[in-house]
Structure formats: C-alpha cells, structure tokens
C-alpha cells in the first residue's frame, strides 16, 4: 500500500505462505500470514477438532550455556529453573524489579549447563539487551540463536498421529511440557510437546533451510486439502485459540506495567526459590493483595469487545479490555480485562464500552475452553 520505512522481517516460510494464499500483514515488524483462504473461523475449528499448522519461526531463541546457566536464569526469571530436568520445558517470565513483566518465555533444559530461552518475536531484542545487562559474575555464554531455528507448531487432537508419520521418536512418550531431540523427515529437530492453542500438539524446531521441507511434509502427512485434513493457520486463529484458552499474550495481558499476580500468573512466581528480579515486590503484593486483577468475561448483549475498550462497573470506568474477540469454537464473544480486585467476582455484571455504547457482559471463570486431557498427556 505504502512503502515501509524498514523492510519487514521474513521467516523462512514466507514464500510458502504466499503460495498458500496467506494474507500477509505487518506483525511487529514481521511479514506474517494473518489468515489463509479457509479463513480464521475454519482454521480455528479445524485446530480444535483435527489439526492446524502454524509458522512460529519469528519467535526468538536465546541460548544460555555454562556451569551457572540455571542459577543465572533463576535470578532473572520468576519460575524455578532448578526444578527442570533434562528434556523438560517450563513457562516462566523475565521480571523487572517491580515484579512486572519484561517478557514471558519458555525455558528448555537440554543439560545442567545448557538452556534455551524461547521468547516473543517482538521482544527478542529487548530481552537480549535485558539479559545481557543483568549479567553478573556468573560463568556462562549467551548466544542469540533466533536466526538458527525455524519453529513450526502442529496442534490439535490429530497432531500426534500426523507428526508420528515423520519421526521415529515415540511421541506418546513425550509428556506435556517435555521435549526430545530427534529427526523429523530426516531433519534434526527439537520436538517439544508444547503449544499456544489449548490443544495437545507439538512445536518442532529445526534449521531454517529445512523449514519448507518440514512444512510441506507436515501438510502432506496431515491430509491438507481434505475435509478433515490439517489447515495452515494464521496469526488471527493463533490469537483466538489462545484467547479461548485464556493464555496471556505479551503486550496485552502482560507488560512492564502489570505484575504476575495481577495477571493470574502467581503459579509461575516461586517466591521461596531464592532471590530473583522483583521477588521482594511480588512477595509484598502477595501479602497485601493486588489492586487490579485480570478476569475473563462473556458479552451477554449484542456486541463484540475488543482490545483497549473501557470496562464499566455500576456506570463507572474501572478498567480495560486486554484482549477481546469472538470465540469461534465457543460461539460467544469473550475477553480478558483488568478490573479492581474487589470486583473480580465470577458472575458479576460489567459493561464494555463498544463505540460509546455500554454493552453488558459477565465475569466468568477462565479458561473459557479446556480440552479433555488423556492420561498420557
């Protein structure tokens, strides 16, 4: 439309997205597909019912190696990295001294002296600078390896069966939030049982020059083009899937102004593990209670809540929507919002201001959607 001041970054699957008819948008400086011709609703439903394929190669990877790798990560992050075993991944957060969030991330443990931090695309540079600036006298090497990996997520109840046709790694043996190193279609890969959809599934990390091969083979193995076959999914479906599952999105539910307790992320806040950035402030907040709290809501009148809309309680503006959207699987209009902690009560009626018009909504439990888990997952 207009010439961009700086060229958008591309993942190694950019050409593949264009061939598939992906509608490309600027997503935090990355040229990414927001949806493919099937459309967001179909992509979302196919992932819930069968399988969806996502290019998440824009995510950043920061390698931490050295004898103090775990101690270092534990000092910067809120979750307890000492609890990890080799082959395990952990959801955690890089915290500020105020207990707010620099980024949320996954910490992968390959060995006692070898961790990989998988961080958000738009915050990779900020995180890299932050992590380097907070180095102490620990013995370790930091490497920004973001350009060394493609990352492809295959998600949904059919994901395991599809990926299994391309690997000898026994996928059913990989527990949720665990990973193995193996091969996929002969390509060396990290196979991680993680995702951002609320479904079972895997995220595959491999060399970027193998991205197209893996993408095409996964589409083929998943029966792409058949009525129940795998669908490539764009960022819009990725967002609605994570929202139905009430997973936080950096820059929306969490940022450097919100603390982990406010965002219902107390479960990744291990106050007793020893000191870490923000621990003191978080301990204080836990003891005193939070002022504002993230809640889920369902719109009960006609209207769709969107990010940034005001929230009213008894006619008074008390908060804001952090993420709001139609929920394609639940067929409701849902959202997450910060409200004063005193009002964070399930069942309470609130109003969301949609174009100057207060629209009724009700605070409901989260996640909005939860899959039925098999014992093995």
């Amino acid at each position: 439309m207009t010439t961009a001041p700086t060229p958008l970054k591309q993942t190694p699957l950019n050409a593949a997205h264009r061939r598939l008819g992906g509608r490309m948008v600027d997503f935090g400086g990355w040229d990414m597909p927001v949806q493919y011709p099937a459309g967001t609703v179909e992509e979302h439903l196919r992932t819930r019912l069968h399988s969806g394929l996502f290019d998440v190669s824009h995510m950043g990877e920061i390698e931490v190696r050295g004898s103090d790798a775990i101690a270092f990560v534990n000092r910067l992050c809120s979750n307890d990295a000492t609890k990890l075993v080799d082959g395990q991944a952990q959801y955690s957060a890089l915290t500020t001294p105020e207990g707010t969030v620099v980024d949320d991330l996954l910490v992968y443990r390959f060995a006692e002296d070898h961790l990989l931090l998988v961080v958000n695309a738009s915050t990779t540079e900020k995180d890299w600078d932050w992590i380097n600036a907070h180095r102490g006298d620990e013995t370790l090497t930091l490497t920004n390896r973001s350009a060394d990996f493609c990352q492809i997520a295959v998600q949904g109840p059919d994901a395991l069966g599809i990926l299994q046709t391309l690997t000898e790694t026994p996928l059913a043996e990989i527990k949720y939030y665990h990973f193995r190193e193996g091969t996929v279609d002969g390509v060396p890969a990290i196979i991680s049982r993680t995702g951002y959809t609320g479904e079972d599934g895997f995220e595959v990390y491999a060399a970027p020059d193998k991205a197209e091969q893996l993408w095409d083979r996964l589409l083929g193995a998943g029966g792409h083009g058949t009525p129940e076959g795998i669908l490539p999914c764009g960022l819009a479906a990725r967002n609605t899937l994570r929202l139905e599952s009430a997973m936080a999105l950096y820059g929306h539910e969490i940022d450097e102004t919100t603390t982990l307790y406010e965002a219902n992320l107390g479960w990744i806040c291990k106050l007793n593990k020893g000191d870490f950035n923000g621990r003191e402030r978080l301990a204080q907040q836990k003891a005193e209670g939070v002022q504002q709290k993230l809640v889920g809501f369902e719109v009960t009148e006609r209207g769709i809540a969107r990010d940034g809309y005001d929230v009213l309680i008894n006619g008074e503006k008390v908060g804001r929507v952090t993420s709001g959207s139609p929920a394609p699987y639940l067929k409701k209009n849902i959202g997450l919002a910060y409200v004063p902690a005193a009002h964070a009560t399930e069942g309470l009626e609130i109003h969301v201001v949609v174009r100057d018009r207060p629209v009724a909504a009700r605070i409901v439990p989260v996640p909005f959607y939860k899959r039925e888990r098999k014992a093995s997952q």
Partner: protein
Amino acid sequence: MANIPDDLHYSKDHEWVRVEGDTGTVGITDHAQNQLGDIVYVELPRVGDSIEAGAVFGQVESVKAANDLYIPVSGEITEVNETLNDDPEQVNKDPYGAAWMLRVRLKDAGEVDKLMNAVEYEDYTKKITE
C-alpha cells in the same frame, strides 16, 4: 480475482452503490469482504437518519477487528438490511446481493459521478494490493 459488477459505482473505502431512480443501495465489495475475512457482526444505522457522503454509517466486524463503514452518497436512509443482524456471514457469501446494507433517498444524484466505475475500481484494488 475479485468479483466487480459493471453496473455499480465504487468508493475508495470499498463500498458500492447501485442507483435505481432516486434510490441508492449500498454495500461492501467482494474485495472488501475477502480482505476482512469471516464477518461475524454488522451494525447498521436507523431508518430515517440523514447522512452525508463520507460519514461513518455503521460497522462490519470480522473475527479479527471492527471496521468503519463509510457511506459513499448523501441522503436519507429509507431501509436497512436487518437480516444481517442474525446472518452477518451473508456479507462473505453474497456481498452484492443478499448482503446489501442500506438504501438511501439520494440527495444529489450527481454524487455517484465522483465514484469509480468497475474498470477504475479494479485498477484501484490492483494498485493497493501490490
């Protein structure tokens, strides 16, 4: 390739107008619905409102976002398509037919001359999607 009927007038905001006598029927183009994706919500104005060309007359929402609708011609709204309240996906399926949005009594029949014809609109959409 987007469907662009010959007999309509088109705005840069991707609305179309069909003129019959002193009545203009307004909707959004096939290109627009395709760009928006799955339409899940349509909000239309009240019958009897008078509206000036270029003003926002309603909203069309996809899963992803809410978008303003701009009226390409001035006049009094005589009818709105209320079936879109319950069946907004008609906008994706039949943007020039079942998913017409409203009818106006045209204040100035000459206004449509400022809009694009089908050939001009096709060039325009090509240019902006390049």
